[in-house]
């Protein structure tokens, strides 16, 4: 288990503010945040390459401030792979084992085993700079894992890869996590990586921990607008609670009354989050299965994305929804077309901005 206990680090313009997190043994823990937020420093603090200005880093309950990096049983894989350019692939992988003074035959056996595990046995005698990014990344991972660390730290490991290699590598990482019962801490700015691998996620923006929790909780229930935007929730609105009951609340957003399953005190000013993936679009007049949150609307924008379309829809408020190419064809969705949109109250996440003073009625 890795614990950060009120850790603060200042490095140049970057500052980590009193970070406290707990990473349990066996977690695949993601630390996500915008680029340049100094996430690498968190990894370097775990590895012992950076010393916090204040606060403590504990591993398995023990304060590790006096333990140098080479004694922490932690492997770190950097975004730039950091392979030793003056050594062949085989020598790179053998580096850690040689330092352990392992017999030569044993080293050769382990190096061969790990190289075949990653499908790079044929690269053993190659120099690192002659290989592709994906190959170098595999070597870096093999080199890190051959020493059998307790904790694997990954710094943006997928950012320099094309999509095909990335998908393969994600599968590898998932397998490694299971096979070795490793604790993995992975920092990235990519939500997609976190969605496909994480068990728990921490969101760090501007050096401050904004949210920490189970993956789905973080991605569906952000605590504030900043996190909501960062985790990619397309629809974020300001609103006011206009009625509340046991089963949920009704929130006034623009001209729409949106029902949520969350119970919020009447009169609160709130922030409303709805993921575009939770909004369904039907031909106008077709009734929805759920009786709430069904609005007549008009399609204002159709933006193609990598494998789907983002629909900009106006129903008094501007809402985003997703559609596949197939759906667009089947439903005959075109610009300016009248449709009806709906979303389930349980898909409407609400955070209260201001509940102390009841919102004032509009003055004229």
């Amino acid at each position: 288990m890795i614990e950060f206990d009120n850790v603060s680090v200042t490095l140049g313009v970057f500052r980590l503010n009193e970070l406290s997190i707990r990473i349990k043994k066996g977690d695949y823990y993601f630390i996500i945040g915008p680029s340049g937020a100094g996430k690498t420093i968190i990894l370097e603090a775990i590895a012992g390459l950076h010393h916090p200005d204040s606060g403590r880093v504990l591993i398995d309950g023990e304060d590790v401030s006096g333990i140098p990096p080479e004694k922490r049983k932690i492997a770190l894989v950097y975004q730039d792979y950091s392979l030793f350019p003056h050594m062949s692939v085989g020598e790179n992988v053998a580096f850690g084992l040689k330092l352990q003074k392992m017999p030569k035959a044993e080293i050769a056996k382990r190096v061969d085993a790990v190289l075949s595990r990653f499908g790079i046995a044929h690269l053993k005698d190659r120099a690192p700079y002659t290989m592709s990014g994906g190959e170098q990344q595999r070597v870096a991972l093999a080199r890190a894992l051959v020493t059998e660390p307790d904790i694997l730290l990954l710094d943006e490991p997928l950012s320099a890869m094309d999509q095909v290699n990335r998908d393969k590598f994600v599968a590898d990482l998932r397998a490694i996590h299971k096979e070795n019962d490793l604790t993995i801490v992975h920092v990235t700015h990519s939500r997609e990586e976190a969605l496909s691998l994480a068990t728990r996620v921490a969101v760090i923006i501007d050096g401050t921990l904004e949210q920490e929790g189970e993956r789905d909780e973080v991605f569906r229930k952000p605590p504030n607008r900043r996190v909501g935007r960062f985790v990619g929730i397309e629809n974020v609105f300001d609103g006011t609670v206009s009625g509340t009951g046991a089963g949920g609340s009704v929130i006034m957003v623009g001209g729409c009354n949106i029902r949520t399953a969350d119970v919020i005190p009447d009169g609160c000013r709130v922030c409303v989050f709805i993921r575009a993936a939770d909004v369904s679009v039907r031909r106008a007049g077709m009734t929805a299965d759920d009786e709430y949150n069904c609005f007549p609307a008009k399609i204002e924008k159709i933006t193609p994305r990598e494998s789907y379309y983002l629909l900009g829809i106006s129903c008094g408020i501007s809402l985003y929804a997703l559609a596949t190419e197939q759906e667009i064809k089947e439903k005959g969705l075109v610009l300016g077309q009248a449709v009806s949109v709906s979303f389930n109250p349980s898909a409407v996440h609400v955070t209260a901005d201001d509940c102390l003073s009841p919102s004032l009625s509009p003055s004229f």
Binding site: G48, P85, A144
Partner: protein, 270 residues
């Protein structure tokens, strides 16, 4: 790529013309000396093979090498500290390292002299164990060490800085202590810089004159001998000695440059 015109543009052309002045100056001086010696080859050979001349050239080369060996021992750790750490007063330390570059050589000579003379802070304890700097080989090495140290330290420091910290960090997490990471990763990747820093320092050391004559006029290094010949025997003899040293330097540095291409061929890729 095929170029339409082989005529370089006017900017490059004028830069080349202006810049060639420096090259021409050196070539002209070398040609003049060479011509004179070649036309009077028997005389040159008789001067160049004088035992005094041969001894002075050997002494200069060996003392220079000795200074470089000391720089390897003391300069590499300093270069690493300057390359990898931040500390209060680092700027001051950097300026101090550079001082020998800025000082007139006679001043450097006085500084070396007052430290290493028999009653000097460093000279005195050494004289008690039998090492005398004044008028002796150790004095020559001390002067060369002092004046060439900035060239060595700065070149090696550049080399260390070019090795990404991430490589060192990766080595640390793989089980290397800081020294092991230095020895197995940083040092091999900076070999070329260390080598070229050594050549620079050697060249600077063997070229020293003013600082050396203050602490050790005798035994004569080549510069002292040339100056002595110039003032006592005249231009003809001193030029012959100079030409002998030129030949030795050209051969040695040609060999070293050739060697450098083989050293640390990986560090360009870092």
């Amino acid at each position: 790529m095929k170029r339409l015109s082989k005529v370089p543009d006017s900017c490059l052309l004028s830069f080349a013309l202006i810049g060639s002045m420096i090259v021409i100056l050196t070539v002209l001086a070398l040609l003049t000396i060479t011509l004179r010696q070649i036309t009077d080859l028997p005389y040159f050979i008789s001067v160049a093979t004088e035992s005094k001349v041969v001894d002075a050239i050997l002494l200069t080369m060996v003392a220079g090498l000795n200074a470089v060996l000391l720089l390897l021992i003391f300069g590499i750790p300093l270069a690493y500290i300057l390359a990898r750490t931040e500390f209060r007063g680092k700027g001051v330390v950097e300026s101090i390292v550079d001082i020998p570059v800025m000082l007139p050589h006679t001043i450097a000579g006085i500084m070396v002299y007052i430290l290493f003379m028999r009653r000097g802070i460093i000279g005195e304890p050494f004289s008690q164990i039998g090492i005398i700097f004044e008028g002796a080989y150790p004095g020559i090495v001390a002067a060369m060490f002092f004046v060439s140290s900035p060239y060595f330290v700065n070149a090696v420091r550049d080399g260390f800085e070019k090795v990404p910290v991430h490589l060192e960090n990766a080595a640390r997490t793989l089980g290397a202590s800081r020294f092991q990471a230095f020895r197995l990763v940083v040092l091999p990747l900076s070999l070329r810089h260390i080598f070229s820093g050594s050549i620079l320092a050697w060249g600077r050391g063997i070229g020293e004159f003013a600082a050396i004559i203050m602490i050790a006029y005798y035994p004569m290094v080549i510069s002292t001998l040339i100056y002595y010949k110039f003032t006592t025997a005249g231009l003809r003899e001193s030029t012959a000695v100079a030409f002998a040293m030129i030949l030795v330097c050209l051969v040695v540095f040609a060999i070293l440059r050739g060697l450098m291409k083989r050293v640390g061929k990986y560090d360009d890729r870092v």
